[in-house]
Symmetry: C2
Subunit: 201 residues, 2 copies
């Protein structure tokens, strides 16, 4: 009954994610988006409303494809303690291998967009909360399984893990070397050793 869209909406959203991820919200123009998504301005506004709504869609897409996918995949393949270690290891690995040093779109948004937009700020906060919940439930499971010290407080340590993750992401965006990123994570991972055996370092 009407003309069909000439582009794949999901593919286009992925292109928008790449733009916003690399350059941030303000620095990405609607014309940049149109070019990367392979569509004209009119189609963009027709399909997504406006730039801000497109950004929200892109953020959601990023959360699904990058964060939630990773959480599900890792939880399916690893036990609770290993899941936490694998999560940090994968973040470091991807950070080091990204020549653009884009970091994490959620972290970038948290500093760039969220403070000036309450709704987006809330969404970003929720996404970060999901990451912390991942840490927390795996910490608790690991504790029950005796994989981590019994006196370890999952509330405290899940917050700590979230902070460490964000720190890694910030340093990654500054182009830090693998060695530094691993230094950030190392003492935290040691903390999860069942016994304070050989201890800290």
């Amino acid at each position: 009954m009407a003309r069909l869209k000439a582009f794949d909406e999901e593919r286009a959203i992925d292109a928008a994610v790449d733009c916003f991820w690399a350059r941030g919200y303000e620095a990405t123009s609607v014309r940049d988006l149109g070019e990367a998504m392979g569509i004209g301005g009119a189609s963009l506004y027709n399909a997504y409303g406006d730039k801000r709504e497109l950004f929200i869609r892109a953020l959601e897409r990023y959360a699904n494809r990058s964060m939630r996918e990773r959480i599900e995949r890792i939880e399916a393949r690893h036990g609770p303690r290993q899941a936490i270690a694998a999560f940090l290891a994968e973040i470091i690995d991807r950070s080091v291998k990204d020549p653009e040093c884009k970091g994490c779109m959620l972290v970038n948004s948290a500093l760039d967009v969220a403070p000036h937009d309450a709704e987006i700020g809330e969404r970003v906060g929720d996404y970060l909360g999901e990451i912390r919940a991942f840490f927390r439930r795996n910490l608790e499971a690991a504790r029950r399984a005796g994989q981590v010290p019994r006196r370890l407080d999952a509330t405290v340590v899940s917050g700590h893990l979230l902070g460490v993750l964000l720190g890694i992401r910030v340093l990654a965006r500054t182009g830090a070397k693998r060695k530094l990123l691993e230094s950030v994570a190392r003492p935290t991972l040691d903390l999860l050793e069942t016994a304070p055996r050989r201890g800290l370092q």
Copy 2:
């Protein structure tokens, strides 16, 4: 031999710091800056060159007044182990008490400006390096003084402390509560306990 400037350059720079700190580089317009600094556009360009140069001056000013001042003050008043704890405690305290949730200008810049401007990126990296150097030299001093476990590696742990600090700053900008920020720091501070006595939590 000529007309005198009608404004205090340092006061004006402080106003510029406030603007860039709260809103970031892109989102701060030259007109915003002029208004906050109490000068017109022409004077701004006459005194500081252009917006980017003003930003670099503001960043330097922030580093001197906020970061270096804190490091010097804390190192003058505390022993090495306490200096590290005091540093983190002060960051958390200031973060919680800032109603604008501005976070740290260096961290904000690291994600916002640095990736797209090599020179500013290098400067930000240098500033972060100074913070890590603060952690490192106090860790080493604390180790010599027997205030921290002997097997603790200052290179690794200084990187870890930097990451934890950045994580706290990111969360602070998202408006996190004190309890969460303290959760991020707590396990790291426990790590510095001389003995793994009552241990982790």
